[in-house]
Amino acid sequence: MGFFLETLIGGLMTGMLYSLVALGFVLIFKASGVFNFAQGAMVLFAALAMARFSEWGHELLKIDSKVLANLLAFVGAMLLMIAVAWLIEKLVLGRLVNQEGITLLMATLGITYFMDGFGQTLFGSDIYKIDIGLPKDPMFLLESVFQGGVLVNKEDLYAAAIAAALVIVLTLFFQYTGTGRALRAVADDHQAAQSIGIPLNRIWVIVWSVAGFTALVAGIIWGSKLGVQFSLSLVALKALPVVILGGLTSVPGAIIGGLIIGVGEKLSEVYIGSQIGGGIEIWFGYVLVLFVLLVRPQGLFGEKIIDRV
């Protein structure tokens, strides 16, 4: 039982992180109809920037305070992501307006490759670590309830907390700020939004920046967990089924989807994987989604599609 809880909680933790990445997807898709395959690349890129900036902060600028260095690095990375967002809008999306979704998907694939290459040229391709001082030591909960209690990794706890906080912040941002409302307007109907004078291009830059921000945060958390390396960009692949499961356009969908898959993954790995050779979490999410889609082609929270002729 305790073991079960552990896996469950572990699942929730990773799930929360998936949701974080998935959130990036959803924001961009809502606002610009782009299925942003590059989200993973952005995570890696942001993390690399973060890691290297803080390093350089130490070495070049001789900043001793880790906090300060990280802070500067964070700001730097954030600025970089905004620049990236701006460039993407200018060079790619701006020129692919009202193309089909598939075309845009391909474009973001291109962006992925570019950013992977570019990021590693810029920041090098070794493994770097991000240390924002998250406690590494484990802690035991509910020891009173079962013997041995439930082992939880503090780091995960913090991470999940940050993620949750971020999700809440974004939700508020969308609900209560002018930009947020504009974004939702754009999401609902591009033409209409434009006609009432919402500048699409600016909106897109903002959205991509926000996505960049989530990518950065995700990058930092994962980075500090597993170290910053190329494989980090694969986290996007983990988040894909989450997005689809949630239904592409729904923020809550992304979060719940994340949790479901996070948990499902862990549990299945433990209880099924062990039987059939293990390592099944790479595909569990996808296969799960596959079956969900067969029942609900538009995902759990997506809008229904009606064919008009």
Binding site: L109, G110, F114, D116, G117, L237, I244, G279, L293
Partner: protein, 359 residues
Amino acid sequence: MLYRENGQFKTTYTTDQQVFPILQDRVGIGLLLAFAVVGVPLLVQDDYLFRAILIPFLILSLAALGLNILVGYCGQISLGTGAFMAVGAYGAYNLFVRIEGVPLIVALLAGGFFAMIAGVLFGIPSLRIKGLYLAVATLAAQFFWDWAFLRIKWFTNNSSSGSVSVSDLAFFGLPIETPVQKYLFCLGVLIVFGIGAKNLVRSHIGREWMAIRDMDVAASVIGIRPVYAKLTAFAVSSFIVGVAGAMWGFVHLGSWEPAAFSIDRSFQLLFMIIIGGLGSIMGSFFGAFFIVALPIFLNQFLPWAGSLVGMTISTAAVAHAEFMIFGALIVFFLIVEPHGLARLWSIGKEKMRLWPFPH
């Protein structure tokens, strides 16, 4: 410019709807094939050229061809091509090692057959799922098979880490060992499949695929069954892809492991058909050649260019540059010529026919 079409009038539908209705084209393609079959083996002495460029080009052309039928003609986006190649490769492998004296060609076709079954299975969702959702759904295949060949020992004849190997290949008694032999074998297979594919896309099954791609509601109203159209597309596509996968393993690599068919392979093939041209047989070849040749070109060119400006460029740097250039090219093509090299080719051809007129 070289076209002289006066007097090339058609008195039967058969001649009118042949693949190359214009005499000059028929001559051209004839010469090209002759060169590929006779010229190349005679002229090219350097094995490296065969191993590094020509053979991969031929096999990946085949794979791209298969993928193009699904994505380009039927409009069903797939990110799981690598997996179907893998199924082809391991399927063929199992037949080859488990049954004594199975001829190579049979093994390859069997590989295609297994891939076809896998393809149809994973194609079934396409009946309900559209566009982006489907794109992601196909990734399920990719990851599932990656995993399967890594973890399920039976597939790999209980070899560790899923790496397997085959040897002494032959085609009706003719050995397929030297690069030239391999090249000719691949060329032969490619030509056969190329013709077959062309025949399909210009016949009514092809029209049904394109109808579904262009306007699925209208298609069903004129009596086309989406189920049939999509599943045949998946079947044909993954059959070809499977054969290509088997050839990649058997002929090109000789010994391989699941990594050879990772998701990167899927993307690579996708890029081939985007750059080459969606919905064009010719395009598949263009794309394949481009993507096979580019890295090799860069590997030669970048260091050389670097040395000009007096800086040494590491292989890692070249690799990264490759990534960047690929990415940039994809975006470039999507923006400038969404129909890829094939469209440029056909435009050029039109211009030649209208020369000296612009339109």
